[in-house]
């Protein structure tokens, strides 16, 4: 890439927010503690001082209320960015997202569209116990009418927001809570739009296709690295888009390697990994040399103690074990 800089994921999100607020006066940021407090993950620190409390709006703790209001503002011609602090609190706003944002365009016969971006942190890994460690991307990826993206790299954290804001339909953006401190390369100023539809091959390989997204990408790359030492060459696919899924990239990889392991922090039953596994069975069955493996969270409310939280969620060891299972070595 022509000239690049190193940013943390948090700085990339803040830069994207600032750019959006500067470039389009219809854009405004709304959510719990996004203003005076600077954001639960400090992603909007300084924005209140720069853009004022009309465009960086602290809200009361009324997730259904302010999410619905954001949807209404989008209908009214604004381009809101609603920050629901974490997916755990989005359950209170599910009705507004599913019954209004996702449905309105189709239900109104194409008269209305809802150009809103809803951002939320997601995932476990910080010992916040069951109510604060959910990974429910698949609930949103199940709903027609929504586009769902999950930036895992710092470059995507920087690039996806502006592109999402141009989308006339609702975009749900998941930021895994353990990524905010990660550092990564970002293109020099200016290049900010990126393709929301395509998955990315983060590591090409010929033996096994590792398909993952968001917070699990790091562990999956570590697993691929460890397996490379044993001469096992893994291809790592970062889905980036959870709806629509980029079937083409998935199938071309699986038909090449004949083996697939899906790493997904959601609970196994009804997971995104389940959907992807079914699609592989439907579209690449004759290329499979082993059953598709899934590395998901154990079916348990995520416990507080570190050793149980680790045991409950996908780890490098469990990914490596799954890959070996597909190779029957």
């Amino acid at each position: 890439m022509t000239g690049s800089r190193t940013l943390t994921y948090r700085e990339a999100i803040r830069e994207a927010l600032r750019e959006a607020l500067q470039r389009d006066e219809r854009v405004f940021l709304m959510g719990e503690d996004v203003g005076r407090y600077g954001g639960a993950y400090a992603c909007s620190k300084g924005l209140l001082e720069e853009f004022g409390d009309e465009r960086v709006r602290d809200t009361p703790l009324s997730e259904s209320g302010f999410t619905g209001a954001g949807i209404g503002a989008a209908l009214g011609g604004m381009r809101p960015i609603v920050e629901i602090m974490t997916v755990n609190f989005s359950l209170l706003a599910l009705d507004q997202i599913v019954n209004t944002a996702a449905t309105l365009r189709h239900m109104s016969g194409g008269q209305f569209s809802v150009p809103i971006v809803i951002r939320m942190a997601t995932g476990a890994g910080r010992q916040l116990a069951a109510q604060h460690s959910h990974s429910l991307e698949c609930w949103f990826a199940h709903v027609p009418g929504l586009r769902v993206v999950a930036p895992a790299s710092v470059a995507d954290a920087r690039g996806m927001l502006w592109t999402a804001l141009q989308d006339p339909d609702p975009v749900i953006m998941f930021e895994h809570a353990t990524l905010y401190n990660e550092e990564g390369e970002v293109a020099a100023e200016g290049e900010t739009s990126c393709d929301l539809d395509k998955a990315a091959i983060r590591r090409s390989g010929k033996d096994v296709s590792l398909i993952t997204y968001s917070g699990s990408l790091g562990k999956t790359l570590d697993a691929a690295q460890r397996l490379a030492g044993d001469g096992i060459d893994c291809e790592v696919i970062d889905l980036r888009s959870l709806r629509p899924l980029d079937d083409a990239t998935i199938m071309s990889s699986v038909t090449k390697t004949a083996r697939a392991v899906i790493v997904d922090e959601g609970w196994r039953s009804g997971s995104l990994a389940g959907e992807i596994s079914a699609r592989i069975m439907e579209q690449a069955f004759y290329s499979l040399d082993a059953p598709v493996e899934r590395v998901c969270s154990q079916e348990v409310p995520i416990p507080y103690p570190s050793h149980l939280e680790q045991a409950a969620t996908p780890q490098v060891e469990s990914i490596v074990a799954a890959v070996r299972k597909t190779l029957r070595t």
Binding site: R10, G38, Y41, A42, K45, R126, Q127, L128, A177, T178, Y180, N181, A258, R268, F285, Y286, S287, L288, D289, A290, R294, V295, C296, Q298, P305, S306, H307, L308, Q310, A311, A312, Q315, E317, S318, A321, A322, R328
Partner: protein, 379 residues
């Protein structure tokens, strides 16, 4: 002596930047006093001390990035009762124990990819040894057929050795049983090619036409008017076909030929035919043909394509009664309305079964074909 460490101030805080000391060495410290200010992602946070004593030494200076747990000051005073953390070790919980639904105990477990490869290589699965976990996979199939390299084996849908034999048998039978006659003529296809160039200019790349598409359509429509070239001859009787199901001779990489058919070519629109042809060639290349496609052709078109040869004297596929061979398109001097022009010429040959038709039907077919090709209404 008490080591005062950079405290953990948050669930995902890994380090802090010392901003300023609020106490200096020698100061008396009381439990709860603020010792220093540390900058974190969330802003500046005061750090309190949890024991009484005297500050002896500061180990970090303003601006230092200090990881959580690193010593930043030394105090003289009574030791607090905070014991070192005992990190629990954990073994990964065995991932989901799948219920192994064995269909037929004892029957070897064969993966889909292995089954497909074995079929391509014409191998009998049952005598391929399974691996240590009782499964027959790609590796096992590849290992048991040394002479075909995996790359080549996994390619065409039809097994090469078998196919060679099949072609040989059909051709021999055809030569033996069918009294072939051949009639051919050179046809000016310039108008067709001009129409094609103009049509493709208005089409996006993905919808572009090969000349074979309009050509096969015209051939099929002309056959509708010469039914004696389109049908099957079995047990000494000829049954003309209702539609023109044309077998398309498709060469495969690495040798070999197969002529799967497209149903009712005459009835298809240009785009329907384009899609069928693309799909058919694609499936030939990936070895996924349907048996019906290999048997229900009522006539065959064999188109050599560019830079090949001028004329083709093809052999009829029994039980069909004719095959149309088209040579390459070449620019040639051509007399038209008394003058010499450079025109694009293609030689078309009809091979017919003399038991069913004769040269006159083939000649009538060729002249009608010429009329259609010289004034193609792009129908």
């Amino acid at each position: 002596m008490i080591e005062f460490k950079m405290p953990s101030l948050g669930a995902d805080m890994e380090q802090g930047t010392l901003v300023e000391w609020l106490k200096k060495p020698g100061d008396v410290i009381h439990k709860g006093d603020v010792l220093a200010v540390v900058e974190t992602q969330k802003g500046a946070i005061e750090i309190e001390v949890f024991s009484d004593g005297v500050l002896r030494d500061c180990r970090a200076s303003p601006g230092d990035h200090v990881p959580v747990g690193e010593v930043i000051a030394i105090l003289d005073g009574d030791k607090t009762s905070v014991m070192p953390t005992v990190k629990p070790s954990f073994s990964p919980v065995p991932s989901h124990k799948p219920v192994s639904a064995e269909r037929l105990p004892g029957k070897p477990k064969i993966t889909p990819a292995a089954r497909r490869l074995a079929q391509q290589l014409g191998l009998d699965i049952s005598n391929i040894a399974a691996d240590s976990s009782g499964v027959v996979g790609l590796r096992q199939v590849q290992a048991s057929s040394p002479e075909t390299s995996p790359a080549e084996a996994g390619r065409a849908g039809i097994d090469f050795k078998e196919m060679r034999k099949a072609i040989a048998a059909a051709m021999a039978r055809s030569k033996r049983e069918i009294p072939h006659y051949y009639v051919s003529s050179d046809i000016d296809v310039t108008a067709l090619m001009d129409w094609l160039a103009q049509e493709n200019a208005s089409r996006s790349v993905a919808d572009r036409l090969l000349y074979a598409v309009p050509l096969f359509r015209v051939l099929a429509r002309t056959l509708v008017d010469t039914p004696e070239l389109n049908g099957h001859y079995e047990q000494d009787t000829f049954s003309p076909a209702q539609t023109v199901n044309a077998g398309i001779a498709i060469a495969m990489r690495g040798g070999g030929l197969v002529a799967p058919s497209i149903r009712d070519v005459a009835g298809k629109s240009i785009d329907e035919l384009r899609i069928s042809l693309t799909d058919l060639v694609g499936r030939v290349r990936s070895g996924r043909l349907r048996s019906s496609e290999l048997s229900n052709a009522t006539v065959t078109f064999s188109n050599l394509g560019e830079r090949t040869a001028d004329t083709l004297m093809p052999i009829i596929y029994p039980p069909q009664v004719a095959i149309i061979g088209c040579g390459q398109i070449v620019s040639r001097p051509w007399v038209k309305d008394g003058e010499i022009h450079v025109r694009q010429i293609m030689s078309v040959t009809v091979a017919g079964d003399h038991r069913v038709s004769d040269g006159r039907s083939a000649a009538r077919f060729l002249s009608r074909l010429e009329q259609r090709l010289t004034a193609p209404e792009g129908s």
